[in-house]
Structures are given as C-alpha cells and as structure tokens.
C-alpha cells in the first residue's frame, strides 16, 4: 500500500530538481512592515508576517534575523530542532558575524518558504547531518549583512564614514559614541542593504568554536517546550487509527458498532491509512480504536518472513551483482592470495523509535489549512497536506514544533503522518490531532533496511592486504524519494546502500564492491547514519578479521593501510592514544577499534567490553571526531555521545523481525534501547582542524557496532557477524 504511490516525488520535483543551484543571496525585497528583507525569493507576506511582532518594534535585515527595539535578536532557524542543537549552533554563526550580545539571542522556527530551502538539497528539510555545514555561509552572511546595515545607519546618524565605525556586543561605536542595535532599528530599516559583505577572519570569532550552552535547555526542563503532541487548539478532537497489521494490507470491512457507542467518540471513518476513530480525547479514541473489529485484505506480504528473506539474501550474495567499484582485479588477486578469508555480515530492520511517537495536528478550513508537527521535511509535508486538502500550496501553513527525536523518520518522502492527519481532518469538521500509539509507531514501517554484506579478502605472504570483494544485498531507500534522480542517476544500485564501503579508504590494490537491490514490500527509510549504519559494521569487522589473518594488531594494521589518509589516521591515532590502546586491561576485558568517514566527518571509536555469562557489557567508549572547522564543541560532544549510544543500542539489542507478514516487536520491551545501567563511560576528543566543516549528528553512530564487536572478539576469540550481538551465534 505504502510503496505504490510515489507521492513525495510528484509533489516536490519542482524544488528537488533545482539541486545545488544557489540563490542570489542579497536579493532585496521590501518586507511587510516596511522593514528590509535581504534574502532569497520572497513569496507572499503571510509567512513573514506570522513571524513578526508589531509594526515598528523591530526590523528584519534579512530572512534569518529580526532585531527588536528592546535589543532582543531573534534568529530564524530553517532547520528543525530534534536534539542536535541547531537552535544554538546556527544562531551562533549569525550572532558572531553580527557582533551581537549572545545573552540577547533567541531562536524561532522558520515558516515554510522557498527562501528557507536547504542550500544543497533544494527543499526545506533537516537531514544528512548537514545543518551546520550547509548553513555556515548562509547564517554568517545573514549576520554580516545585518551588521553592515546597522553600521551604515549609525554612520549616517553621526555623519561619519562607516569604515571608521566598529561593532561589539550589540552596539555600533565610533570613538566614544555608541548606538545600540535596538536604537538603530528605525534608521536601519530605511536603508538599502549592502551589495557585498565581508565575513570575519576566523581568528576574530568570538562565539564560533566555543562550547556555549544550548539556548533551548530551559524550556526542555520545565515542561514548556511545545512538541507536536502538545499542540492544543480550541475545539480540537483527537484521532487514533486502526492500521493494517501487514504492509500492503487494506481494509476489507469493519464493524464499529461497539466503538461508536463508546464515550467521547464522534466519528469513525475509513481513510487510506486504515480506520480512524475521532473522539474528544486520546484515551477515548484509543479505547474505541481497540474495540473496532476490522477485517483486512492481507495483500501480498501476508507470508513474508524475515528468516526466509535473509536466506534469499544469502543465495543472492553468491552471484555477482551490479558493480559499484572496481579497482584492479579482486577475483584474480583472491585466487593468488597467500591466505584468504570470507565472512557474511547481517543486520536487521531497525526502527527509529523517537521518544515522541508520530503525531500531527491539522486545522482545515474551507480555504486554508494549518498544520503543526515535528517535521524534518517541511516543503514535502506542506505540499502533500495541500494535495490532500485540495488547496493550493500557499494556502497551507506548516508550523514546525520541537521534535521529540527525528533520526530521519520525520522526513518521510510520502509525508505519511501528515497525509493521514489531513485525511482525518477532512472528515472531522474540527481541528484534529492524530496520535500514533507506541505500537502504531513501531509497526508503522519506514525502517532502516535489513542488509547482508558478504566480504572476501586476501593477504600476501608478508601479511599485506591484496584483495577485497564486497557484495551487498538489501532494499533501496532512495527509490520513491525526491532525491532519487539526484542520488541514483540511472545507477542500478542505490548509493545509500553502499555508502561507507564504496569509498573503502584502505590501501588495497584490488577492490570490488557490488550491490544487489532487493525488492521487498517493507517500507524503508533513512535512519541515523543511513547506509553507514551497516557498512561500517561489516567493513570494520572484516578489517579486523584480515588483521588477525595477518597476525597483526588491528590498530597497527589499519594504520599501515591508511598511510595516505591523514584524516582517517588522525582520528584513529587520537582514539587509540586516548583509550590507551595496547595497555593491559583487567582480565575478562578487551578493546576493539573502528574508524569511518561519513557525512563529511571522520570518526574513530575504541570500545572496552567484558563478557559475562554470554552477556556483553560495554564499559567505556573513547570517540575521536574530525568534523573540520567546528562551531560548538559542547554540542559535538553531546552528539558524539548520543551517536555512540544509538549505535551501541543497535549493536547490542535491536532487531525487527516479521513472521507471516506481521512485525514481532511492539514496544520498548521487545525492541530495547540502551538504558542508564547499561550505558558506558563515553569520552569525545575533537581534532583541531581548518578543513571544511562536516556533520556531527550521524558520524558518531557507525563506529560503535564494529568497535564493540571487535572488542568482543578480543575477549572471547569469537567473531560477531550478525547484529544484534548474540554470542551463541558468534563464530
């Protein structure tokens, strides 16, 4: 059912096709309140008006900043805050160039408007660990442009050359004269923005590079942060949906006799997603939903079993697949290798499992529609809501709330959670909030695809790696997304399936990578670190196996093969050194190491584990990250810690399995997340670098599983080739 309609593609092609094309940043347009707007194309004034306080009390030098006569400065953030700290890191960029007083800086989610589109992906969205590096120029330029206007306004008042003025901490100075930014609001609003602005020399940064505290902590510790699930509108009803138990199943018929008579129930309707029960409160809707008797047409997936699927994957991996990379001749080199080894790695479907289950609020009127949700994909979600509502896109406003975790799930190419809520709103005749129960959320699909990764490798008589052949089997996640054209470009494989092995950095003369694309009716999607979440596991575990075959230390073996890869070496050495690689550990404990490049950043982890009664305990993880020029080391450390825990959870506990088309897992008790008592000590060490900025949201994830698995080998002598780790399956 879900994979049949390529809705996202259809509704976003207009924007997606524009790709990297950069807009004229300093295009000038007159804004609603008579203030000035420097920025991208400005369609209509409603979005801006909604983000503006009363006339005259502030001005917007451009789309990204509003300066108030009260000295408060609001940074308009076009990326969604889902834990990764964009409401702090992006304002830091702008505030630094603006020479603002950091204590006066606030943040506000951007409305949906093309001027807030992602400069690389061409739609308004948050993903790919790209918020900081894609926003770097955008937010710095916006800050610098605003500063230039304020200086010009002050210079005019003082009748001096702007070049003789300086700025500091929210004010313009000339000699002993001072005008604060708030005092300059009125004058600056009358000026034309500068054609060119000079950005700071990085040595003059006052905020960028400092571990400033997050701006959004207070509201997250006193209950006032508004997540999508918290939105309340007058007269709003709540809906819970009976969803198909099998992907591709549809409603044959349903009996709502009992449910209809239950307290608070207003309406029960069939929609494409299932049967929606609309009631006064969530609990009434949920209880009535559970009382529905729905007969399903089970569809083609009724006999689907993951065990059979993996068996099929194993068979397919025995045959050559579409080529991804070919250096030299891996097959011949394997045949003539002194020693060789092969291994098959398997990883399961995974759920994003954000703490806040999916939800969406829709207020649909005759000629307008407002949506409140934690979206990572605003352009797509707005367009899909408009399509279902039967309204032109510009009649739909989407308000981005705080996201109680995203991890990719809230960037759904078909806007599943927005589309169904809009369907419900059409029938409800009142503002509607659809809430997914935890079980609905876990069973609702769009998982990290299961993958099989078969690797053969060989070494020569001196222990040098001479051959590597990777063959992967798994589903594509790009198929059906707005990025399919950009990413796949007619390839027979999905780059997101092989990212992290297609760029194998080790100096091995003969490398072949092949990928079979599996067509399976389980909806799959990007999950934090996407393909890297499985390729790093297979690659870094296999490098360890090669090291053992060569009878070399796994760290030194990697070093030797990475001599021409200084940034890989940098993080590898840093992690090894900080972890005390080679120093003795207490009996029963072992270390494992892994290194990986993903989302423009380099990462290495050393894990220390013990194994007791077949149970793996991770005691310590030492993480090194090189994300180039960095903005906020405090947030980088937090993301790296979180990434390590996210990866460790998958490595130790998590697996989704299907039997007869039905998912076997329902909640945290059957799909566990690492808990406090299982959490290791985690250290993060950041490489000082002048290289281009990279991502931090995802790079902390990929190394966790292989570092832990390699540490388990160090303790037990057993190889982990399947996740989650089960020692009974180790070889």
């Amino acid at each position: 059912m879900i994979r049949q309609k390529m809705i996202g593609q259809e509704t976003t092609s207009e924007n997606a096709g524009r790709g990297i094309q950069r807009r004229d940043f300093l295009k000038v347009t007159v804004a609603a309140s008579g203030g000035l707007l420097i920025g991208f194309h400005f369609f209509g004034v409603t979005q801006l008006a909604s983000a503006q306080p009363p006339l005259g009390s502030s001005f917007m030098p451009n789309a990204f900043v509003r300066i108030g006569t009260d000295e408060n400065i609001t940074v308009i953030v076009n990326h969604s805050e889902m834990g990764q700290g964009v409401y702090t890191s992006l304002p830091m960029l702008l505030a630094d160039e603006l020479d603002a007083d950091w204590s006066k800086i606030g943040y506000e989610p951007a409305p949906v408007d093309p001027k807030y589109n992602h400069p690389v992906f061409g739609v308004q969205m948050t993903g790919g660990s790209s918020s900081v590096y894609s926003g770097l120029q955008q937010f710095r330029q916006a800050g610098a442009a605003a500063r230039a206007l304020l200086i010009a306004a002050a210079a005019q008042q003082w009748n001096v050359d702007a070049a003789t003025c300086r700025t500091e901490s929210g004010a313009v100075f000339n000699g002993t004269r001072k005008l604060t930014y708030g005092q300059l609001v009125g004058a600056a609003a009358k000026l034309a923005p500068p054609a060119n602005v000079q950005l700071k020399d990085p040595k003059d940064f006052k905020l960028i590079g400092k571990p400033l505290k997050r701006l959004d902590t207070s509201v997250k510790i006193n209950g006032t942060a508004e997540f999508g699930i918290d939105v309340k509108l007058p007269g709003m009803l709540t809906a819970v949906i009976a969803r198909p138990p099998i992907f591709g199943a549809s409603v044959k018929n349903f009996d709502d006799t009992r449910a209809r008579s239950m307290p608070g129930v207003r309406k029960i309707i069939a929609i494409p997603a299932g049967v929606a029960v609309i009631a006064d409160t969530f609990w009434q809707a949920k209880v009535a939903r559970d009382a529905l008797r729905v007969e399903w047409d089970e569809g083609k997936m009724a006999n689907f079993n993951t065990s059979t699927m993996m068996q099929d994957f194993r068979e397919r991996a025995k045959t050559p697949g579409p080529g991804v990379r070919k250096d030299g001749d891996a097959d011949s080199a394997l045949a003539s290798a002194a020693k060789k080894i092969d291994a098959v790695y398997e990883v399961p479907y995974l759920s994003h499992l954000m703490m806040e289950p999916l939800n969406c609020v829709v207020d649909l009127r005759a000629d307008s529609c407002e949506v409140w949700t934690g979206s990572q994909f605003q352009t797509v979600d707005r367009a899909n809501a408009a399509r279902i509502a039967g309204l032109p896109t510009e009649k739909v406003q989407l308000h981005t709330t705080f996201l109680g975790g995203g991890f990719g799930r809230r960037a759904n190419p078909q806007s599943d959670f927005v589309v169904e809520a809009t369907h419900v709103a059409k029938a409800a005749g009142a503002p509607i909030k659809v809430i997914w129960t935890r079980e609905d959320d876990m069973q609702g699909g769009w998982y990290r695809p299961a993958f099989l990764h078969a690797i053969e490798g060989g070494i020569d008589a001196s222990g040098n790696a001479v051959s590597w052949r990777s063959r992967l089997v798994g589903q594509s996640i790009m198929e059906g997304t707005p990025f399919v054209a950009m990413m796949m470009k007619g390839k027979a494989y999905d780059p997101a399936s092989v990212e992290g092995v297609d760029d194998l950095p080790y100096a091995i003369p003969n490398v072949t990578v092949e990928c079979h694309q599996a067509e399976i009716g389980v909806p799959v999607q990007w999950l934090r670190s996407v393909g890297h979440s499985h390729t790093a596991f297979a690659v870094e575990c296999f490098v360890d196996e090669l090291a053992a075959l060569a009878q070399k230390d796994p760290y030194q073996f990697r070093r030797q093969l990475l001599q021409k890869q200084p940034r890989y070496l940098g993080v590898l050495d840093l992690a090894a050194q900080k972890a005390g690689w080679g120093k003795p550990l207490p009996k029963g404990m072992g270390r494992g190491i892994a290194v990986h490049f993903a989302f423009e950043s380099y990462s290495a982890h050393v894990a220390e584990v013990s194994v007791t009664d077949g149970k793996v305990r991770v005691h310590r993880m030492v993480c090194a990250i090189d994300c180039g020029q960095y903005v906020n080391p405090g947030i980088i450390a937090a993301q790296t810690e979180g990434g390590a825990i996210f990866g460790a959870s998958a490595a130790l506990f998590q697996e989704l399995t299907f039997a007869n088309g039905r998912l076997q897992q329902t909640n945290f008790n059957t799909f566990p997340v690492m808990r406090m008592n299982e959490c290791p000590e985690i250290e993060t060490h950041i490489v000082e670098s002048k290289e281009k900025a990279g991502g931090i949201g995802e790079p902390g994830v990929p190394c966790a599983a292989p570092a832990i698995a390699n540490a388990v080998f160090a303790v037990t002598g057993k190889r982990i080739r399947r996740l989650p780790i089960r020692l009974t399956e180790a070889v």
Binding site: I221, F227, E356, P357, F668, N669, V673, R675, N677
Partner: protein
C-alpha cells in the same frame, strides 16, 4: 467526580476513573510537560509524583490519584531553581528534550531519598527512564552535581 491536588492546586474532575492519569494531566489539566512515550510503563517519560513517589502515569488510572497530591514537571520548581534543573542547565543535558521531564521527576525522588547518590543508586533509580538521544552520561553527571549543590547549599 475525582478530586486531588496538582502542583498544589485542588482539582475536581468528571472523568472515567480508568483513564490513565497521564492523559488527564495532559488533556484535561493542560499540563503537557508530562509525556507519552510507551503506554506500558517501559520508558518513564510520563513519570510524575503521587504523594512524593515516582509513578508511571501512563499506567496509573486517575482513580489512584484521588485524594492525593500530584506533582508534575511544571511543579518541580516555579523558576528552574530546583538543584536538578540548575545542574541540568550546567551540564547541558537535554538533546531533543522529550524524555527529560520524566528523567527529572525520577531523579528528584532519588535525590530526596539519597542526597549523595552513588553511581549504583543512579543506575537503580534511573534505569526505568529511556533517553533515545543518549543523554545518560550527562544525566549521571548532573545528578552528582545537583547532589553537590544540595550538600553545599543546605536545604533547597
């Protein structure tokens, strides 16, 4: 009619007594700081205090609150002055923030019962609260820091 006090205010509600306290707090009382995460007492996002004890409000029928005193995150302090909130700010604990109300409410009971908790005490008290973002190392540090504040500053 079910009556109890919430954050010091008396409430009397016409509500099905089997409704989980969580949804009464969120929907009838409008206190949305307490979160829904699992509905089966697995994740702790819904943790509130009933007469000072940490309770998973997603599985506690509202009838259980009758005649009691309920505290939610909104009642932990009026001004972020609780030592845990101060420590949370200093350690920059939250990421997405969704689980943090529950984390704080669990930690508040721990800190009251054990003013100088060990790592084992923290494990025991906090293991019922899941954080998908992985803020555990900072939660641990912040609890220790709050304990130090209480020790230095006396009564809170």
């Amino acid at each position: 009619m079910i009556g109890f006090s919430v954050n010091g205010k008396r409430v009397d509600l016409e509500v099905d007594p089997s409704t989980p306290l969580l949804w009464v707090i969120r929907e009838q009382l409008g206190l949305t700081g307490t979160k829904y995460g699992c509905g089966v007492a697995q994740c702790g996002a819904c943790t509130v205090h009933i007469n000072g004890e940490a309770v998973r409000s997603c599985v506690a029928p509202v009838s259980r609150a009758a005649g009691t005193s309920v505290t939610t995150i909104e009642g932990l302090s009026p001004d972020l002055s609780h030592p845990l909130q101060r420590a949370w700010l200093e350690e920059d604990v939250p990421q997405c923030g969704y689980c943090q109300s529950g984390q704080l409410m669990s930690a508040a009971v721990l800190l009251r019962e054990k003013p100088a908790p060990s790592d084992e005490d923290i494990d025991e008290a906090m293991t019922g609260n899941i954080c998908r973002c992985g803020t555990y190392p900072r939660i641990r540090k912040a609890i220790h820091r709050a304990a130090e504040m209480v020790a230095k500053g006396g009564a809170r």
